[in-house]
């Protein structure tokens, strides 16, 4: 495992700051013509940045970078990928919405326990349900190459202390459980998060049971 050095936290904060600075240009994503930028710091086990453009609310295309630092051994993998996301089904109810997304992509990966850059395939799916007061999502992200296979499963359950209006700040309290396969992390990594969004900016931050920072920022424009 790579230690959570101040330098790495500094790099993350720089990234988050960079994304936040683009917020003045931000516009939404969940419709044709929208762009989403996202950065996540996953408690020292994963770091990811993504950018997607959505020609339609049904699909988006883009790419990302994922770094995986094993908590079990010293292995580190850096994956760069292109990806397409597709909304398989959306249920628009009177006071709720539910979605099923899938995605697939390909890219290259390098690591400290294998040489060169290896082809890496990526596939995943997400199902979510939300009202203005409760939220739940289950996401599975799978990466496969000749050198490694990793799957990251993430469960999030959230509750909002109040039902936000369109022009208000939304606040959510979220519990996250995450498992990694491929000797990245033993067991389930639990985290408690505070999520806040308003306008084009979405920020969530919290702490894992190990005391590590778990955070994410997203901007739509």
């Amino acid at each position: 495992m790579m230690p959570n050095t101040p330098m790495r936290h500094g790099a993350l904060l720089t990234l988050l700051g960079t994304l936040a600075c683009t917020a003045s240009l931000a516009k939404p994503i969940a419709f044709a013509g929208g762009t989403t930028l996202m950065g996540e710091y996953g408690a020292g086990t994963m770091e990811e940045v993504q950018g997607f453009y959505a020609p339609s609310h049904r699909y988006s295309v883009g790419g990302g970078y994922l770094r995986l630092d094993s908590d079990v051994d010293e292995s580190v993998v850096n994956i760069t990928y292109a990806r397409a996301n597709y909304l398989v089904k959306r249920w628009n109810m009177a006071a709720a919405q539910a979605n099923v997304f899938v995605w697939g992509g390909a890219g290259g990966a390098s690591g400290n326990d294998f040489g060169g850059n290896v082809f890496t395939g990526n596939a995943g799916a997400q199902a979510d349900y939300e009202t203005r007061r409760i939220y739940g999502s289950l996401k599975s992200d799978f990466y496969d190459s000749t050198e490694f296979t990793h799957r990251i499963d993430t469960l999030q359950l959230g509750v909002a202390p109040y039902a936000h209006e369109y022009d208000q700040v939304a606040v959510w309290l979220v519990v996250q459980g995450r498992t990694y396969t491929g000797d990245l992390y033993p067991g389930t990594e639990w985290a408690a998060l505070l999520r806040v969004f308003k306008g084009r900016i979405w920020v969530e931050a919290g702490v894992t049971e190990d005391g590590n920072l778990q955070s994410m920022v997203m901007v739509n424009f």
């Binding site: 516009k27 939404p28 994503i29 969940a30 419709f31 044709a32 013509g33 929208g34 339609s56 609310h57 909304l87 959306r90 249920w91 628009n92 109810m93 009177a94 006071a95 709720a96 919405q97 939300e130 009202t131 203005r132 039902a163 936000h164 209006e165 369109y166 022009d167 208000q168 939304a170 969004f197 308003k198 306008g199 084009r200 979405w202 739509n220």
Partner: protein
């Protein structure tokens, strides 16, 4: 007296146009997240006929204030909202000013 008459003509014309101003109120399903619903506002503001847009998650309402003499058809509104990922459940055209609707939404939220 003649000056008064001359001034009153454009005033009456303006009043007539203002009273003809139209607000389209759309009932929408799936409107639960302000962050996600921004697409609605952006799409609707692209119509040249749009003067203002109001979105209320609580009321499941999307209201469009139309410019005088301009309009957006039901089909265009439905296409825009469904293109943003939401389900249109009803459209009605009123002369309620959007400012009044905004006040109603604010009052309902208190």
């Amino acid at each position: 007296m003649r000056t008064y008459r001359l001034l009153s003509i454009p005033a009456l014309l303006l009043f007539s146009l203002m009273s003809a101003a139209e607000t389209v109120e759309v009932t929408v399903n799936g409107l639960v997240c302000g962050f996600c619903a921004q697409g609605i506002e952006k799409r609707l503001r692209k119509f040249p006929a749009t003067r203002d847009v109001l979105v209320s998650l609580e009321q499941r309402l999307v209201a469009v204030d139309l410019r005088e003499g301009a309009t957006i058809s039901d089909a265009e509104l439905t296409e825009a909202l469904e293109g943003a990922g939401y389900a249109v459940k009803g459209i009605r055209r009123t002369d309620t000013p959007i400012a009044a609707l905004r006040e109603q939404v604010k009052a309902a939220g208190q």
